[in-house]
């Protein structure tokens, strides 16, 4: 025991003490990060016989979308849009090949690739029998063969607008229902503000320009949700 208290050991000890104190403090601090508790409203919808535990009407998706649409969403998509004629040949090689070059996705696995594209083409067919209406677009050089579809509503499918925006993350929402309602609000806004005001029947055989997004479903087919679509030269 006596030997332990030799002078050089004590010097060493004093020097080491500060370091140990710091280390201890750092270790203790590192394990107490702040956390947030997210409250969920447990409300039963009187008109439903099944209670939805995750329903929270405090979140107004339409308001959320209105607040960011003109300021953030449209400028972002217009700035990031890639000519669709670059994307299509890559998609033919494979979704991952196209995705790694031009795509966006939330994480490395389990989420599909989304793309922001722009282009100009001629409408060769208008499909309105299904409520998920679409138009077929032929891209130059024109051969009357459809190269892609644009969704024209009133039902718009998918979540591609939401999923291409890098400033929106699932982490920021209470749960998957809220996150889904956000995607629906984007689609609804696009139909009400843009698509419902265009007469696509009268645009058949005419050229249009578009900017929009789509989710690659692995089939190689493109189903674009437009944030902007307009007749070339403005003539309708």
């Amino acid at each position: 025991m006596q030997r332990i208290f030799r002078m050089e050991r004590i010097k060493f000890l004093k020097a080491g003490l500060g370091a140990i104190l710091l280390l201890a403090l750092a270790a203790l601090l590192s394990s107490c990060r702040l956390y947030t508790v997210v409250r969920l409203e447990k409300n039963a919808d009187a008109g439903q016989e099944v209670k939805v535990y995750f329903d929270n009407n405090a979140f107004d998706a339409d308001k959320y979308v209105d607040a960011i649409w003109e300021k953030k969403v449209v400028p972002y998509i217009l700035a990031k849009a890639v000519d669709v004629r670059l994307v299509i040949p890559e998609l033919k090689k494979g979704t991952d090949a196209a995705g790694s070059k031009y795509g966006i996705r939330d994480s490395a696995e389990g989420s599909p690739w989304n793309f922001i594209v722009k282009g100009r083409g001629r409408i060769v067919a208008v499909h309105t029998v299904s409520r998920n209406g679409t138009v077929d677009l032929d891209l130059p050089p024109y051969d009357n063969q459809p190269d892609l579809k644009i969704q024209i509503g009133p039902v718009i499918k998918g979540t591609s607008i939401r999923d291409t925006l890098n400033f929106i993350s699932f982490d920021d929402f209470e749960n998957q229902i809220e996150f889904a309602r956000l995607a629906n609000a984007f689609n609804l806004r696009i139909y009400n503000q843009i698509l419902s005001k265009l007469n696509f029947e009268s645009l058949k055989d005419k050229e249009v320009e578009f900017d929009g997004t789509f989710t690659a479903d692995g089939s190689g087919a493109l189903m674009i949700v437009p944030v902007r679509v307009a007749p070339v030269g403005g003539g309708e």
Partner: protein, 318 residues
């Protein structure tokens, strides 16, 4: 003389104490090689696939495993978390027993220096678990709903069988279905009942619904076991042509689809999600980061005649 000795001795002791204290914070993460896997009952093949997937991956990565079952009982789950903490687990992988009830045990684990990785279902808090790899039930239900609408030709009378009302996923899936179907005014809902996820209950409920509605064109179900029950009742009534859609991606429904009976289901990639959680746990233990956001939403996949033959135990083979 003696006083100085004593002071030095004390200093030594304090230093030693701090050293041990600081090390013990790391020790919880470092000193065991055990991954504890906690899921609901394996009676449901979905949860069994989850546990098996996590176990297999953990062993491949060189961990020991301990697989435990909470039976959707929050108190039981509390005990299991305490077991994991007492065993100084390297990490906990958990399909949890309640979005609110799970906050406390995850917080306890975190305080003990044990990282938790949640799979399949989310909890109502962020910043406690290292990762929440969530099955996107809502997106899955929308996929199932869209396929149902397509098969129905956007019109006709249909029935909905809902899962157990107390279960979050029953509500989420029903909401997802209606989100899609309600946009088609020519689709008429003639009966909507809960069959509590049960095959036998779905069979008897369907039998009585058929009595009053001979002209139904489709049945959409909150899970696969109810779809199997509904299909059996329809076949027994000579109505095997009715369009039935399920949810989960079980092997039973896969076989039914291949026989041309049930038309579609939605796969939640349970096996893969569980493996992914283990991979992220491993990465976190080795590097201090998973490289991913905490909340990760994993999409479901539509299963129909085109890809049913590639489905095996909640995994789609390429």
């Amino acid at each position: 003389m003696g006083g100085i000795e004593l002071k030095k001795g004390l200093l030594w002791l304090v230093a030693l104490f701090l050293l041990i204290g600081s090390l013990s914070v790391f020790a919880a993460k470092r000193n065991s090689n055990l991954i504890v896997i906690i899921t609901p009952s394996h009676d449901n093949p979905f949860f069994k696939a989850e546990a098996v997937g996590a176990e297999a991956r953990a062993k491949e990565l060189g961990y020991q495993t301990l697989t435990l079952i909470h039976n959707d009982d929050a108190n039981k789950q509390n005990e299991l978390f305490d077991t994991a903490i007492a065993r100084r687990a390297a990490a906990i992988i958990c399909d949890n027993a309640g979005a609110d009830a799970t906050i406390a045990p995850v917080r306890r684990a975190k305080a003990a220096g044990i990282p938790a990785f949640l799979v399949d279902r989310e909890i109502n808090a962020t910043g406690l678990a290292v990762a929440q790899i969530v099955s996107n039930n809502y997106q899955g239900a929308k996929l199932g709903g869209e396929e149902f609408v397509r098969l129905m030709g956007e019109k006709g009378k249909y029935v909905e069988l809902v899962g157990k009302e107390s279960d979050t996923n029953a509500g989420i899936r029903s909401k997802g279905y209606h989100e899609v179907i309600d946009q088609y005014p020519d689709l008429k809902l003639v009966a909507r009942q809960s069959a509590n996820w049960s095959q036998t209950e779905a069979f008897s409920k369907m039998e009585s619904i058929i009595q009053a509605n001979k002209d139904i064109k489709g049945v959409i179900c909150g899970n696969d076991t109810m779809a199997m029950g509904a299909m059996a009742a329809l076949k027994a009534a000579g109505m095997g042509h009715v369009i039935v859609v399920g949810f989960d991606g079980s092997n039973d429904v896969r076989d039914s689809i291949l026989r041309g009976e049930i038309k579609a289901t939605v796969l939640q990639p349970a096996y893969r999600i569980a493996q992914l959680a283990v991979e992220q746990a491993d990465r976190y233990l080795r590097t201090g980061s998973t490289g991913e956001r905490e909340k990760q939403l994993k999409d479901c996949i539509l299963i129909n005649k085109a890809n049913a033959n590639k489905l095996e135990t909640f995994m789609l083979k390429n």
